[in-house]
Amino acid sequence: MQACRLSATNLACRRGERVLFRGLGMSLGPGEALEITGANGIGKSSLLRILAGLLPAYAGKVESEGTIGLIDEHPALDPHLPLGRALSFWADLDNIGFLARESICDRLGLGDLLDVPVGYLSTGQKKRAALARLIGQSAAVWLLDEPLNGLDRAAVALTEGLAAEHLAAGGICVIASHQNFTLARMQQLALESHAP
């Protein structure tokens, strides 16, 4: 695992006319995880997108080292393509060998779904496909926005296991979830305390 670090100082986010949060600071090193909590609309997804560098911060700054992987509500898979081909676009882009692709798909239980068009998959199946994309990216920093949405119990345990492995390998996880994401030694960040 490459060296990684993710820190934010005095971060503020504004959407439209509203300031969602301000004065937010955090710092994560290898093997550390952070859970972001807060009610709907408080800015969890926006925070993750700011950390990913996809959204400009209204104030403050984010410093990161290591590649960033993001899972959110968008699976980034072509709906009309069979899952196998949609995933292999990302596998080609991330330059993963054939064997690694197979083992990732087996791990996530996607082996039987590879011929099914992405548009026909259920929410949970798409989420698992997105997880396969994330693993293939071998990013050091994982930003997970509602990673457990639509997953069955086995898949929830699997996702938690993957995150734990990622941390053990020296990665970073930032998780925003309304479900209970079980992970040992997870820091908590309540966005309510940073509301303006």
């Binding site: 996809l54 959204l55 968008h74 980034a76 676009f89």
Partner: protein, 219 residues
């Protein structure tokens, strides 16, 4: 290892060429041919009138046919989160847009130039006019592709974006039309050279304008 932009280019071709998302290249082509077919019905079988105006009709039909695939140029990838994932991998919007311009041109430029052959027969154009039309399309369609991708990026995420994109692109395409179709009446190649110049300018600006538009749409 395949270069990453080549992987993206291959996907773009799959989306835009035959059998891709929503009909690929076939729909614009049929639209183009049906305009060329309807025109003689509308103005009557006057051969000299058709020969005089036919080149211009081909140009207008080409312009309108190029507008048809607008809704699948940028918007779906923005919606599905592809651009987010590319940015995370350090692939800039500009390079994605440049690749997409090439794929978009391949999906309608050469097919339109081929379809211009039967269209010119339907309109009774002579060989010299056909030559100028083909050269003009070769010079003008890359500019149309650049315009198309830029305007599609500007209107991505807006409600009724496709209709708006069509309206926006028409005034911007007027220089291409003036020089491209104008070369038919002056009978010279200078008009085609100017069409090529307009195209090159659009090609140079488009990746940056479209890249900025996509970044703004994400914010």
């Amino acid at each position: 290892m395949m270069p990453r932009l080549f992987v993206i280019f291959r996907r773009d071709l799959g989306l835009l060429l035959l059998g891709g998302r929503k009909g690929g290249t076939v729909l614009p082509l049929l639209f183009f041919l049906s305009v060329a077919m309807l025109f003689p019905f509308a103005v009557g079988p006057d051969a000299s009138l058709l020969a005089r105006t036919g080149g211009g009709v081909i140009w207008i039909a080409a312009l309108l046919a190029a507008i048809l695939p607008f809704d699948r140029l940028i918007e779906p990838d923005l919606e599905l989160g592809f651009f987010d994932q590319w940015v995370l991998r350090g692939i800039s919007e500009e390079s994605v847009v440049a690749v997409r311009m090439l794929a978009h041109w391949l999906s309608f430029g050469p097919p339109l130039m081929l379809a211009a052959l039967p269209a010119s027969a339907l309109l009774g154009l002579d060989g010299e006019t056909l030559r100028l039309v083909e050269l003009g399309l070769l010079a003008g369609t890359p500019g149309l592709a650049a315009l198309g991708v830029t305007v599609a990026a500007l209107t991505a995420g807006l409600r009724g974006g496709t209709a708006l994109a069509g309206l926006l692109v028409i005034p911007l395409a007027v220089p291409l039309l003036i020089f491209g179709a104008g070369s038919l009446s002056t009978g010279g190649e200078s008009g085609i050279a100017l069409t090529g110049a307009v195209s090159l300018m659009l090609l140079a600006i488009a990746p940056f304008a479209a890249g900025a538009a996509i970044r703004a749409a994400r914010g």
